[in-house]
């Protein structure tokens, strides 16, 4: 039995117990469980009055994925500790990185004046699943689902600082002002749910002030109309800004008032004939429906105990990455096109052994659970899951290479992302780096190639998907050559 099957069985066992416990009918135990589970999982169909249609010419080809969940690991997780096993580095420990490898790579000013001494991985590695994928010991849960994932170890970017690198990772360009991937998808493909925005963003609640703020242009619409920008689901009382009516304004009074707004707007429409008024009436009704649909979505009390067991103890605390992973699955169930999570603070310049580990603990179990959960519910076929950050980390130690205080500086020339579901080959490792996890040795995948591939999976030809702004036809993948990575497609 594979690790995946084992995990799945554990989950079904829990779900069965929960399910039967809740319904209290033993006889049901005989019914085929998967179908029951999937029926249990299916929520009421989307019932908004008019889901936004997207562009008529899209998709260009039959899509492999309908939805995307982008698990953004902000700060630059270390591929050297997490995925890219380089046992040979032990021999180089403490020795200077050869110039033949470094090849003039820029460093940030944090380490530019320091000797580049090789620091081997702080984490031990194992091989997992039938595919024998290498995963570091700090990610035991992801290791167990390795056969579901497609690891791309040859990711490349140019930027070495957070804001430009993240801006490029999400919008295709290092300067703010372009639409994000999610906004492009929302613009092109529209939504299947008239009660929720097409593009939703969630940020893990952290106690520590982060050194890398998550700017709202990361999910901005750039030059696209602002209705395509990501809507941030907050952890506050208002999951969406201004969603909650003031205290002391009961729902029935609000309804009364909105009826008044609609009646008067209709009279005005008769007089002015401006179709914009018609739209306004509809949007106010949608606002009313969102006031119910969003809190319902965010309220996890209807999830069975098994869900929390699967996603781990953190998932019980609203606002955590794990709780947001559950929400991501609920959003996909409701037909939301693009869901983006952000987990900050992967910027481990020091103390890899505690800092990087802490972020692994925040995210490992829930990331793996999300893949399992989607698969179990039959959603993984249509949902593309992407895990990754804006760049990787360098092989040289920052600070003392042999002290527990040592960390790693930013590194753009190679990093690892993984994808799952949505038409991507599972159990595949694609691309490779050199012996130092420093340069890509085979099959480089630039950020824009990743974008082209994601669009391709959604049925979009990235070269033909353009938007005119300032007299130019912009596209997500920009002016330089971008390729769809066909080798990783199922």
């Amino acid at each position: 039995m594979s690790d995946f099957d084992a995990a799945l069985e554990g989950w079904t066992r829990l779900a069965r117990r929960q399910f039967l416990g809740r319904v209290g009918v033993d006889a049901l135990g005989a019914v085929a469980l998967p179908s029951l589970l999937s029926r249990m999982a299916s929520t009421a169909p989307a019932t908004g009055d008019r889901p936004s249609p997207g562009l008529p010419e899209l998709p260009h080809r039959p899509p492999r994925a309908k939805n995307v969940i982008f698990l953004t690991q902000s700060g630059g997780p270390s591929q050297i500790e997490l995925y890219d096993d380089k046992p040979g580095l032990m021999e180089w420990a403490g020795k200077e990185l050869p110039e033949s490898v470094r090849q003039g790579q820029r460093l940030t000013t944090m380490t530019a004046n320091q000797k580049q001494l090789v620091m081997p991985s702080r984490a031990k590695f194992g091989r997992y699943g039938k595919s024998g994928a290498t995963v570091g010991e700090w990610l035991p849960h992801i290791a167990k689902v390795a056969d579901e994932l497609c690891f791309v170890k040859s990711m490349v970017t140019e930027e070495i600082n957070h804001a430009p690198a993240m801006t490029k990772f999400l919008t295709g360009h290092q300067l703010a002002g372009r639409p994000s991937l999610g906004a492009w998808c929302s613009y092109g493909l529209g939504s299947e749910n008239g009660n929720l925005p097409d593009y939703l963003v969630m940020i893990s609640k952290m106690k520590r002030p982060s050194d890398q703020p998550l700017y709202d242009h990361y999910w901005g619409s750039g030059f696209l109309p602002s209705r395509y920008q990501g809507v941030k689901l907050r952890n506050a009382n208002d999951p969406v800004l201004y969603l909650r009516d003031p205290e002391g304004l009961p729902r029935e009074i609000r309804r009364e008032m909105l009826d008044g707004v609609a009646e008067l707007n209709r009279l005005h429409l008769d007089r002015m004939k401006d179709p914009e008024i018609e739209t306004r009436i509809r949007q106010y009704e949608m606002a009313w429906r969102m006031q119910t649909s969003v809190p319902e979505l965010a309220d996890l009390s209807d999830e069975p105990e098994a869900t929390f067991e699967l996603y781990g103890p953190d998932s019980r605390r609203p606002g955590t990455y794990a709780a947001n992973c559950i929400l991501a699955r609920r959003l996909v169930e409701r037909g939301v096109r693009f869901v983006q999570l952000f987990h900050p603070d992967w910027d481990h310049h020091s103390r890899l052994g505690s800092w990087c580990v802490a972020r692994c603990r925040d995210t490992d179990q829930a990331s793996a659970a999300l893949v399992l959960d989607l698969k179990q519910r039959g959603l993984l076929n249509d949902t593309l899951v992407v895990w990754g950050g804006e760049f990787g980390r360098g092989v040289a130690g920052q600070g003392e290479w042999d002290s527990p205080d040592g960390g790693r500086d930013h590194h753009p020339r190679c990093f690892t992302v993984w994808l799952a579901g949505g038409g991507v080959k599972s159990g595949l490792t694609y691309g490779a780096t050199d012996d130092f996890s420093y340069n890509v040795a085979e099959n480089p995948v630039h950020v824009r190639d990743l974008h082209a591939t994601i669009l391709h999976l959604l049925g979009i030809n990235h070269e033909a998907f353009t938007y005119r702004s300032q007299g130019l036809d912009f596209r997500l993948t920009g002016v330089e050559q971008a390729r769809v990575v066909h080798d990783i497609l199922a």
Binding site: L175, L249, V261, L267, Y284, R316, P318, S354, Q470
Partner: protein
Amino acid sequence: MKSSLAVGCIVLGLSHSFLLGAEPVNFSREILPLLSDRCFQCHGPDETHRATELRFDERDSALAEHSGGAVIVPGDAARSELFARITSSDPDSVMPPREAHRKPFTPREIERIRTWIDEGATWGKHWAFEPPNRPDLLENGVHPIDQLVDQRLREKGLQRSQKADRETLIRRVSFDLTGLPPTVAEIDAFLADQSPDAYERVVDRLLQSPRYGERMAMWWLDLARYSDTDGFQGDATRTNWPWRDWVIESFNTGMPFDQFTIEQFAGDLLPNASPNQILATCFHRNHMTNGEGGRDPEESRIDYVIDRVNTTGIVWLGLTLGCSQCHDHKFDPISQRDYYSLFAFFDSLDEDGKAGSAAKPYLKFRSPYAERDANQAAELEKQRANRLAETRVTVLQGFDGWLADLRSRTSSGFEPWTILHANAMRTVEGTVLEQHDDGTFVASGPNPRQDDYVIAGAASLPRVTGLRLEVFPHESHSKGRYSRGETGEFILTDLKLQVRRAGAPGLKDIAIVSAIADAELDAKARQYGKVQDTLDDDPRNGWTTDPEGEAVPHKAIYALAEPLVLGDDEELVVTLLHRSTVGDANLGRFRLAVTDQPGEAVRSLEPMPLERLAALPAEAAIDDELRKELEAQFLIDQPAWREALSEWEAADRQAKAMKSASGEMNVMVMAERAEPRTTYILQRGVWDQKGEEVSRGLPAAVLPVSLSSESSRLDLARWLVADENPLTARVIVNQFWQLLFGAGLVRTPDDFGLQGLPPAHPEVLDWLALEFRDSGWDVRHVLRAIVLSETYQQSSEVSPELLERDPSNEWLARGARYRLPSWMLRDAALHAAGLLEPNVGGPPVMPYQPEGVWEEMFMGRFKYEPSQGTAQHRRTVYAFWRRAAAPTFLFDNAQRRVCESVPRLTNTPLHALTLLNDVSLLEAAREIARQAIAEQQSAEQRLVAMSRAILGRPPRAEEQAILLAKLERTLAAYRNDPKQAEVFLEFGQPELQTAENPTELAAYLVIASLLFNLDEAMTHE
């Protein structure tokens, strides 16, 4: 016949008025845009992407022979290769090729190209690079704009709509020129004034109002990407707001636009530059700055210079210069060399790419307005201090009774701490925990390197205000100290507190505000030592004690942010995390306890006041110090006092902030460095890829000039506003048009180049541009000219036929109807309510926005505190702009990261939610309701008053009926549940919360809010 041609245009999907089949082809308006759009990508100005030597941006090349054949044979389309290729059915030879992803030519476009070639293939420049033409006008007393618009409309078989009614007109022009609606008195005066120049006098009054400068400044600030913060890493605050006031003053004093330009580009280089002229140059320092650790400042500096060039391009030239940063422009005659020649003007500032408080050069500047605001804030602080003192006296009347009661209850002793007994405990990595009878937890079994202990237990207290953790040494531990680890030391990296309800899956996080301990190791940041560091979820720091210290029990006390009241089915979950880098330091013995004592009691290690009270002999007097502490403890549990306290604290913080803003500020300005930098073309626009050297120069395609070797930013500015510059005047008047009609005559205000949309009324654009220039760049003159035209004054009602023919109102056969900018909606609401604070200038203010927006984004590093008193009701132009999280109530506004000149106008449910629930709008609605109730007797009269204040007109009979019905039902609902009404009214400024009759006020508030949410209320009609 209503012009079959116009119908034909619709069928063919062409909307531009000049694309009329029967006229001779106009090269620059019809053919050049087609060549640009379909061909320039590979056959245009960009040398590197040119597929062959054939280019269509230059006449000689297009008409020359290529590969032995003529591409264009003037007079003979049939023999022209161009025509053959665009009509080819062979996929290998058709142009544009499929792989270029350009749209194929439409039959109509092909026809026009054929006609153009057959007519002789005359060539010309792109229209915007030709000087403006003074159009032929009749001396017939008809406004020039109307003459020109009417001419175009006649060609279409259309005519202008009737004039808007007077109530609509005064509302429209007031919003357009001041950003505010007219007051009821202003409307009445205008309706009563039957003199022929009544409207003109309204216009002149508005243009002279200080509100005019604020309105224009909001436009300019968006273009200038003005912000009160850096925008990147840390998003540090800057104090450039005196420049914002300079902009407002410049508009209000009528500074000519050429001077306005020159001072902002080069005020510092003018002879005997005044501080205000230097202040003006902040314009080109408003870009984002990036102080991210590890970033090369030179890379940032290059970004800033690029931003200045691109902003200049968009604002003055209407050109997308940014395209030429990496390569020659693909469509417009701007080469990469041109780009870096402009770049050179800004390349030698005395700056070094740093951000935050190191973003030199600075001007030391003291705002003339800040002292006024500081005094105002001090006054409010005094008022609220008085109120607090009064509240204290009232509340303290209950103190003696409370004290007597306590004294009798504590006479037999008082123990503030209740030991927490676990219902359940577990560890993550395998340590075995066991709780002894005295409450001590003891660790045994495996001793992993790191572990988390999770302990759940009920707290049998009415509420919990604090948590105590005691750690004990034990002989079984290493060296008799605190843990079973090798050193015997413990390191607690974090402590978390949660609540769990029986049967519910979720856990609720409980906020802890402070932690103190009786011993900790003196430690720097990110070292192990301080107990406070157990609150930040960072495993790189945490609590430990001095390894040299004596092995005695220690304690830490955690204070909760808010008293926690637990339900019967709820329990506390305490998690102790030992995740240090060094590890092997998990607690061996510890104990947990909770208390219900408020305030200082859980922020101090001293015996609590009640403990000391209990220790006193029965008859002993209470000394002053203890009495004071008991008083404080009493007060903190009185809601009325707590509320008055936090209101005073907010005013006090504001008074201090305003005071510090009235001193000298550093404003980022421009200044040249002693030694100019050498400028290079940057290959592919990459900051450190230096190519050829370039010197300062101006794009000849726009206006050729020769510059001396001493040229400076001053020359650049003078060139921009030179009489002969074909672009600047057109681009700026187009922006003015956009301010008044919601869309420019050129619908791509940032692109007057070949890829931009041509104007539907080119003659109007040219006439205005020349008026602007010839009036001495008088902004008011141009605005006045536009709003006095009949074209501007048309009704915005539309017939279905006209809507179908001209959905976006390009031809101007009706008035402009569009949603007002969100900032105007806030200002209008405050103004209608009489709340708007009229002062001009001063430090930024914080209008209401939902709690936690900044805190979430910066994980608590910045806290947003809404302004107090009248500072809350200042115009939006004075609102603090944090670039990383723009004001939440401003939907569709420019984001001010980079220059943006295209208006955004969307219509989404999120906007509806904002207008329904934004506190600013609710506060305005409450005041309007209050006034209507106070000043009018009947419900009908009150509804009329509210409608006039908000919509500028009384309701029609059928509307009145609807409003009355809603009012009655709302009133009935609140009368049924008057408590709700009281709760509803508790928001916003404390000074505005009182209500004589809460039920009534709440119901009228709902109706006022209903009116604010009508489409009409938010629309330029």
